[in-house]
Symmetry: C2
Subunit: 305 residues, 2 copies
């Protein structure tokens, strides 16, 4: 017999919508996943998407609390909520939930994003990753450095269960726009992939003190000089950019600190391979960390026992 649901968790990002039916002990009972991220919503779409996927779970007789994290509470989302200032722990996120009532009268709680200042005094922001991090810690992942690959990769440091600080790198997005829209695109075979060329690009960025604005050009010059085949270019470009991110992100790493890579699929494998090139050990985060984050924040807020 499957456990009874105690909570609905929603991870609503720019390009995806994920909803979880969660048991009182934090286990995930059921999941809905669609491409209806906030970037793909028509006017009034937030209400409709919410009602379509979460409505049936709520109308099932039970009065379940709902916690929603991610870009859904950004300026372009359903309702903009303020950022919580780092450092912050699960209790702080629980206390900072923003209650919202949908047009259909359904109640939900938005998790605040997190803001911190980088060493240069620039603000840095996340929305959604804070819930994944809280979930990792609740699942027993040790404090340390967390790498969260993506369009905008995050590197976050935790200590004593608190999110201390973090830094964003636009690695995934620079890769996408350079591959699709730059003059390098003409040199790139987008379908081919080479692990060796990827490792080569990572090593090049880790070793080179010149700017990545120069290294990017070597994608072109290596092909022009026939030192690289078109088959190798996409992987080499990806390696250059992820290597650049690692060079910066690992610079402040304490010897022997715990390193966890958060996410799923091929991108996490790619980061684990890059960290291997850098000679740094890392573990992948457990699955469903975000649902566990919803559970922990709801628990701290007193929404579930």
């Amino acid at each position: 017999m499957s456990p009874r649901p105690a909570l609905i968790g929603i991870d609503w990002g720019t390009t995806s919508f994920r909803a979880y039916q969660i048991a009182a002990d934090g286990r995930v009972i059921d999941t809905v996943e669609t491409a209806e991220g906030i970037a793909n919503q028509p006017a009034g779409g937030f209400e409709q998407t919410f009602d379509r996927y979460v409505g049936p779970w709520l109308d099932d007789g039970e009065h379940l609390p709902v916690v929603a994290s991610g870009m859904i509470s950004s300026r372009n989302g359903w309702r903009e909520t303020p950022y919580l200032k780092a450092p912050a722990d699960a209790a702080a996120f629980g206390a900072a939930l923003t209650e919202h009532v949908s047009q259909a009268g359904r109640r939900l709680h938005f998790v605040s994003g997190l803001i911190c200042d980088d060493p240069s005094g620039n603000p840095d922001v996340m929305r959604g990753e804070e819930t994944q991090l809280i979930g990792c810690l609740a699942l027993g992942v040790p404090d340390g450095l967390f790498v969260m690959p993506g369009t905008h990769s995050k590197w976050a440091m935790t200590e004593g269960g608190r999110l201390l600080e973090f830094r964003t790198y636009m690695t995934g997005e620079v890769f996408a726009v350079m591959r699709e829209h730059s003059l390098l695109g003409a040199f790139i075979d987008a379908d081919a992939w080479s692990e060796a060329a990827f490792a080569d690009g990572v090593a090049a960025s880790l070793a080179d003190k010149d700017s990545v604005l120069h290294r990017l050009f070597t994608v072109r010059s290596r092909v022009l000089d026939r030192r690289m085949a078109a088959d190798d270019t996409a992987a080499y470009l990806s390696g250059i950019l992820i290597g650049e991110e690692l060079r910066a992100g690992l610079a402040g790493l304490t010897e022997g600190a715990d390193l966890t890579v958060v996410g799923a699929g091929a991108l996490v494998d790619r980061y684990l391979a890059a960290l291997k090139v850098a000679g740094v050990g890392a573990r992948p985060a457990p699955d469903a960390a975000v649902a566990r984050g919803h559970h922990e924040i709801a628990r701290q807020a007193g929404l579930i026992a």
Copy 2:
């Protein structure tokens, strides 16, 4: 009375075509400039563009030599020519001219591009800039470091009239694709410009040891945190990228070395302003350096007296 032409020089790049009627002493008598760069040519377009603009000058009774530099001799150009290996001087470029006869029977000479290895062993290449550099030196600009802003900026070092080595930075192209195709674009007012925001971006890159992949994100986070207005974003983004190029390019600069910025228009002014933020003195190169380069290379090749 204007002097008689002794040479035709063509600077044929990716997005522009420029032809010069040049006197025996190197002065420019007449100029034709169009947007018919090699990226905008239909099949057979090279022959037609050449005949249309240069034909009349050649059919004027005189048998003038023609020297053509730039991307026209690249893989996607009229005829691909090999690169000359750095270091190279005007005599080497003169000796390496590639003669070509058009379908209409007109003779021209392509200037070779230049190739060198960067300190990491990657090839770097230029086509067109070598002729501008030779022209600068022929016009009396002292040896030293030359900054050549553009889609793909070049930083070149000369000594004793020879082009020693150079480095390419994809600054202009990264700016364009990030402004037009990235998520930053939604935050950027493309028409607004602020000198103060530009200087702020330059200073940020010069001071920050983190990766430019992180600094790019501050365009977004500063707006989200209301520390920056949308009016300032394009200039700030440009400042970040040009500042990153300067940080790397100036790293190897010898104290008191001569610095010359080659090019024309607003982009050169922008680089001169950025160098001022960096506290580095620089001069703009004289106009028409490329035509003087055609003249000097033709002279070394014995095409003109």
